[in-house]
Symmetry: C2
Subunit: 227 residues, 2 copies
């Protein structure tokens, strides 16, 4: 079956959350290794997504989960920040910069295929990120629509259904093997894109030998998909 549409993971795949969040801590006057602090904030996030998927926590969107995890993080690290600064940090996730290949790469790929975001981030957050980075996608699709975070299979399948394609006609593009593996379990095709700087220079190399395609930037994917 031909790939007729592409769904893009957003955080880490299209945008660089680590630099943006470290900069936001810096702007709030926090001292220390702010990239490491961003990593710690991000790491606190995953267990909460799992709790939502297991039914141990009611549905909460990224803003709500970022608020919970930020309060925990700052408490743990003994960092004092006013409520207004905390709101600004949560808002920083709405204004992340895309990786350098993304704006043009999406434009080229949209000329060849239907394109969509497929993110765990809620729709309002995706709208802000796409507007901030001038990223053009045909459609924004979110785990918010199923209330099940990726890698829950129903979220990938919902994306295919909304776009009007069979799961095997939809390819997830992501930098994260767990996301790609979830997509494959749901019947999607997959493309791994290497984002070696997602967790900063020198972080362990990632790969996904089971992906249909592996690329280092979106332009390369466009070349591989040319009919």
């Amino acid at each position: 079956m031909a790939v007729r549409a592409l769904a893009f993971d957003v955080f880490g795949t299209l945008v660089d959350w680590r630099s943006g969040i470290a900069d936001a801590f810096r702007a709030s006057g926090v001292a220390g290794d702010l990239e490491a602090l961003a990593d710690t904030w991000r790491a606190r996030f995953w267990p909460l997504l799992a709790e939502v998927n297991e039914g141990a926590r009611p549905w909460a969107n990224f803003d709500e989960l970022h608020q919970i995890t930020l309060d925990e993080l700052l408490g743990e690290q003994g960092i004092e920040l006013a409520a207004e600064e905390r709101m600004r940090l949560i808002g920083a996730w709405h204004r992340l910069e895309p990786w350098p290949d993304v704006r043009t790469g999406l434009e080229i790929l949209r000329g060849e295929r239907v394109t969509a975001a497929l993110s765990n981030g809620h729709i309002a957050l995706l709208v802000d990120i796409a507007r901030h980075g001038d990223l053009r996608l045909d459609c924004l699709i979110s785990a918010e629509l199923t209330h099940a975070y990726k890698p829950a299979p129903q979220t990938y399948q919902m994306a295919a259904r909304l776009l009007g394609f069979e799961p095997a006609e939809l390819m997830l593009v992501a930098a994260h093997p767990a996301d790609l593996s979830g997509a494959r379990r749901a019947g999607l095709r997959t493309a791994f894109i290497d984002r070696p700087l997602e967790y900063g220079p020198g972080s362990p190399a990632r790969e996904d030998p089971d992906a249909d395609e592996s690329v280092s930037e979106l332009g390369e994917l466009a070349e591989l998909l040319v009919d």
Copy 2:
């Protein structure tokens, strides 16, 4: 409360379904008054939406409803068309032309506010229409996500919630008083846009005295909304 986002009805408001469908009948070799035939097809559609909202008919998207109503229409009019031609006619709803002010008007409005489609058409249909007309919106929102067709209030409210705004911060832009009235009942702001050619030259004038704004093209709305 300030208007922070605009939601656009699509069929009749952004795109000219009547000419596109009449042309599609013409391309299929059907004879007679094809604009009137398009009107009749469209008119057969409304009772089915009402049946879905009343629970008398299971959820069905526009492609499915267009298939049912086309088969009825052709049978009634004694028009013979092969299955392939019928599919092409249903597909014609995916390739409708925007009104002349729409592409540029949406671009200007998107520079000032968050913009979204808010249509009874399903997401895959909206994707095709936006791609065909090169229409850029921040987000596509559909009654498909609630399984309740406008003017059901939950569909307008869902749009506000997904975009992260209060209903009173979201303005529906539509050519149809019934749609605008439904939006107001759900707490939205409204803008009436006159599309005097939707049902062809000489059709009765429409207006909506209860709308917050009334305009004759999208550029005019952009001027009214400038802060």
